[in-house]
Each structure stands twice: as C-alpha cells, then as structure tokens.
Symmetry: C2
Subunit: 361 residues, 2 copies
C-alpha cells in the first residue's frame, strides 16, 4: 500500500492520515469543509491535491449517518481500489451501503476503538490508535485483497485488528461503550441539583463513574442515533436489574428477617455479578497492565525536592514514563509514583535508597 | 487530647490509630478479634493494654449495624470522656444509639470519607484521611466539648471537617457513593456473559465506570443495609431517567421524523444534565478544581530532560503541586503539565521560556 485517500478530516481521519504519512505513505485529504482539510494538511497529515489515479485505499471518516452516501460518491468517482470507513456503528451504515447499491466486494467496514474528549483535526495524534482494537466488519462478499488492505492500514496505525460481524460489533459497543456512557450521564445527572455539601463529599469512586459524563452530547447523539435500538435493548436489561436492586433494598429497609434475607441475597447477587463482569475487562490498551513498574518515593513539600528527585533519576540513566503525585494541599509528605521500565525499577530503588530517599514498597 | 481508644481495628480504626500515634498520642486498641488488635499494635498503631482511666476520646470503628451496641457497652464500661464512631451511614446508628439509651451528650457521629479496595488492619495507612472530608453529625444534645474533641481528631488525621445533619449525610452519601456503587455494578454485570470479543473492545470509559464494581460485596452489604431506603429512593429516580432514555432511544430507532426529534431532545437532555452534574464534582481531595494553574512544557524523550526541567523550576523557587505527562510510547515529544500556584504561573512560564524551554499556551 502506497497511496491512501482520507475523506473527512476530523479527529479520526486526520489521526489515521498522520500515522500513514509518518510511515511514508502518500495521503490525499478531503473534507466537506475545505478549511478542515487544509488544517489537516498543515499538520503534516497529507496533501489536499486530489490523486491523479485511484489510490490503494480510501478511508471514509464521516459520521455514521453519512457513510453510505459518501462511500457511494467516492465509488462513483473511482477514488480508490479498496474502501473502508471508521464509523462507530456498523449495521446501519452497512444497510445503507447495500441499499445504495455500492460495490461491497471492495468495501469493508471498520471501527478503530480510540478517541479523545476533543474533536476536529487539531486534536489528531499519529499515535491515537496504538495498541487499540480496530474492528473490521467484512460484508458477505468483501474480497481478500480488500481485507488485506484494511489489515495493512490497521497495522500501519499500530492498532490490533479484530474481525467481527457488523451486528455483533454493534451489540458489543452498546455493552462496553454506549450503555456505560448513558449510565454515567444518569449518575451525574442526579448531582445536578444536589446540595453543595453533598457534592463536596464526592470521592474517587463517583469521580471515576461520572468522568465520561463530561462528553459532548452532539457527538454522542450521532453515535447513539445510529445504534439506538441495540443500546435500548441493553438499557432495558440494566433497567430490569436496577428494578431488582431497588426491590432488594426495599426488602432490606422493611426490617423483618425474611425480607432482610431476600434483600441481602439480591444485593449480593448483583454485586457479585458486577465483580465477575469487571474482572473480564482487559487492562489499558488491551496490553497486560504491568507494562511499567512503579517506584514510590515519599518527599517533603519544599520547593526543589521534586527537582532533586528527578535529577537523581536522570543521573541513574532511567527514563520516567509517567509520574503521579498523591499530594494533598497542606500535607507534609507527598508520595511520588514513578513509572519506569520493569528492568530498571529495582536498581533505581536501590540507587535512590543509597542516596537517602524514602523509597516505599 | 492525649489518650484515645480505638474499638475495632479494621482499615479505618487502625488508620486513625496510626495517625494519632504518629502525632504522639497514646492509643489503646481493642477488637472483637484479638488477632486484629494485635496486628494493629504490631504496626505501631498503639497498645492492646486497656487504659487504667477513661481516655479522652473513644472511636467506635465497627460496622454500622453494631455501632449502637458497641457504644452502649463502651459507655457502660466508662471507657472515655467523649465518644464518636466512623460508620459510613449515620441515621440508623443514631436511632439505635438513642433507642439503647446511650449518653448522647458526650457522643457525636462521624464518617471519614476515605477507604481503600483492601480492608483489615494490614491495609491501614496513617495518611488515609489526609485532605479528605470527615463528616461529623452531632446529636441534638451533643455538647461543645465533645464536638471539639471530634474536631481535634479530624485535624490530627489531616482531614477536613464537615458538620451535617445525620439524615442529610445519608442522602448525600447515597447520591455520591452508594447509588454510583450499585450502578457501576449493574454496568459491569452486563459484561458477565458477554462474548469474549465484545469484552476485548473495552476502552478507558467502561474501565472507569466499572472500576468500583470490583469492590467487596460483604463490606457493601453492611453499608447498603444501613442506608437501604435512602439508596432505593435515589435509584428510583435513576430508574425514571433510565426509562426516559430508553423511550428516547426507541423513538430514535423508529425512524420517523417526529420520533427522531423527540428522541434527540430526550437523549440530549439527559446528557446535558450529566454534563451539569459532572461539572459540580470537586477535584481530587475536595479541593476546588481551579486552585492551581497549569504550565505546559514540551520536552523530548531523552533521560534527563524531565530532571533538567524540574531543576529549573526549583531554581525559580516554584513548588510543583502536581505533574502530568502526556507522553505516549514511541512519541518524540511529551507534554509536561506542571500544576503551580496561580501567582507563580506567569513568572514561571517567562523564566522557562527565557531558558529555552518550549512552553505551550
């Protein structure tokens, strides 16, 4: 694969274009908004010049509701030898692609499972897809060459290909993305009119549960509209479980012994099922969660102490991959957590201890 | 305050004991399980010898359902001059304390808002409460001396006192802790029997939403049993919103224009309310989210670059309150975000720029 067209230079399209130009491919950029395409080009994502002959692969990177129409247009123009899209739902666009009479032999659906809170070309990053699942949904007649072109795209972006049926994909993202998004919003919505004192009691738990409730409603409307029936089915199942949990709580509140036992059993069941479901979720980026090791050092609060620590780590020749400081205002001691390569961790701890640092186990 | 008794040496009791012995107080430890008390003592949390005269404050650190009984027993023994507890619900224990005819003049309810996934004395940390809210719920006749003893305890543990009515506390924790816990479990429960391929598609969103679904069901049963009616009321409100969200999705799925518009309005409403509620949650440790300003510096990937940066900041006399690095593997440039006092931010940026650093706006 040498030449690619990216049709739609938002976050996803531009990120793919940046990854591909970074690997030496020629990328042609187009967008309904010429400014967006020019912005992407100025970021080094490719050229806004149209290709003079069909490119190897066209990536249709537009909202789910537009995939069919844009794909049909690209195929009419003979833009590419193979086509894919990156829409976050797959059955609806597939139906439109078929309904519009598109060539489904040289088309394969795609969905890279990556995103950011920001959108648009300026939020794009060449490494957006690294280590992330990239679902490919072949049509019944997608040919092998087209599948291989898509697999090459996924590999060039550093992502992990997962081949699925379009309907199974939509059910899967309803479970692991769309339904959790709406439930996060529902939990956060309860805080809209809560007493200020109540909100002050928020801890890390509710903060984590509601983090994605900060997402952009417009973007989610596009996604949820295209997968509405499937998400509604999942939420109906959640509603059934929620009703059972409320009944169990009411039994517990009633106070008699038989009710209490039924309530305990009901709540314990839902929490154990939650334990089981949570344990199945793979670590970050699908990678084993122990990619780096953490070296924890307690430091004081004076200016310079962090600097001295980082200087020490640098002199030891160790690269810090990430840093977290657990350090409340007014607190004397902060715990600095340095993420380093596993091979370097033990030696770094010994070096820091030898220089008088308070390394914690 | 010089002497304290901790009755119940689990995670919370032992952590408070460690904080207090660290500040030079004498702490007497007891537990229904003598091994747990001995473990706490071996960690340096105090002595298992009983006090020879009443201590200044007794901390009843037992599950909510046992607070009344244990407090009554402690008061019968004349263990302390003042009493508090640390149970995570307050109205139920208050009712039992009153019903058992306890002395409510020298008692004040308490709830430190801190915890860990692990339980028991071995999980205890002297700094568990630092910067965290610690709710105090006086009875109608709690005297000022008892309130002050509890405030001293909270200060010695580095926590932030919040005085509340017991019932308001229970409604607040239902909103910000108990209901989010059950909804996290309900989202995770849907993954229990999901296809392996579906679970592989999990991203950071569902990971955050379901993190606390890994919590111990037995511990949560104690908490939820003691606040069951209040949590059920909150979940009923969530269920109403959930029903509306499902209706909106079904309207979207129906496909006609009137339905589509109603569906868009319904989903947008719930997501905007989620935006509003999420925005009210204060930052980590209950601090206002805009307390520090962020100075962003782009650095290269070589060992030592972070160290040089921190050295520069230290020489400028500026204290770094927090650090985040946006720094993906294989990427040339990382963005270091330094949180500093607002008064220092502009001058630090100028100093760093003058020394050749790539400071980003």
């Amino acid at each position: 694969m040498r030449t690619v067209a990216v049709v739609g230079t938002g976050l996803i399209g531009t990120s793919a274009a940046l990854a591909l130009t970074g690997r030496g491919l020629t990328v042609h950029l187009e967008d309904a908004d010429p400014d967006a395409a020019r912005t992407a080009a100025s970021l080094g994502a490719g050229t806004t010049e149209p290709p003079v002959e069909p490119v190897d692969l066209a990536i249709v990177a537009v909202p789910p509701a537009l995939v069919g129409k844009v794909l049909a247009d690209c195929q009419r123009r003979g833009l590419a030898r193979h086509y894919t899209d990156v829409a976050s739902v797959k059955a609806g666009p597939r139906g439109e692609v078929t309904g519009l009479g598109c060539d489904t032999v040289h088309y394969i659906g795609g969905h890279p499972m990556a995103g950011r809170e920001q959108s648009g070309p300026l939020a794009a990053r060449a490494d957006l897809f690294e280590g992330r699942p990239w679902v490919l949904t072949p049509t019944p007649d997608t040919d092998t060459e087209t599948l291989n072109a898509a697999l090459e795209l996924v590999a060039l972006c550093g992502a992990m290909p997962v081949v699925m049926d379009a309907a199974a994909h939509d059910r899967a993202v309803a479970l692991v993305s769309h339904a959790p998004q709406l439930l996060s919003s529902l939990v956060a919505a309860r805080l809209e009119h809560a007493d200020e004192t109540a909100v002050r009691l928020s801890g890390q738990g509710v903060r984590d549960v509601t983090r994605i409730a900060a997402s952009d409603p417009r973007m989610w409307l596009d996604i949820l509209s295209a997968n509405a029936a499937v998400v509604a089915d999942v939420l109906d199942e959640v509603a059934t479980d929620l009703g059972a949990a409320v009944s169990a709580l009411r039994s517990l509140a009633a106070g008699d012994e038989a009710g209490r036992q039924a309530g305990v059993a009901g709540i314990e069941a839902v929490m154990r099922r939650g334990n089981q479901g949570q344990a199945r979720i793979p670590g970050k980026h699908g990678a084993p969660p122990t990619r780096y090791e953490t070296v924890t050092v307690a430091i004081g609060d004076q200016p310079g102490e962090l600097g001295r620590l980082f200087g020490e780590v640098a002199r030891a020749g160790v690269n810090i991959e990430d840093v977290a400081i657990d350090h409340a205002a007014g607190q004397r001691v902060g715990l600095v957590q340095l993420s380093v390569a596993p091979a370097a961790a033990r030696q770094l701890e010994a070096t820091l201890r030898a220089h008088g640092w308070d390394v914690r186990d």
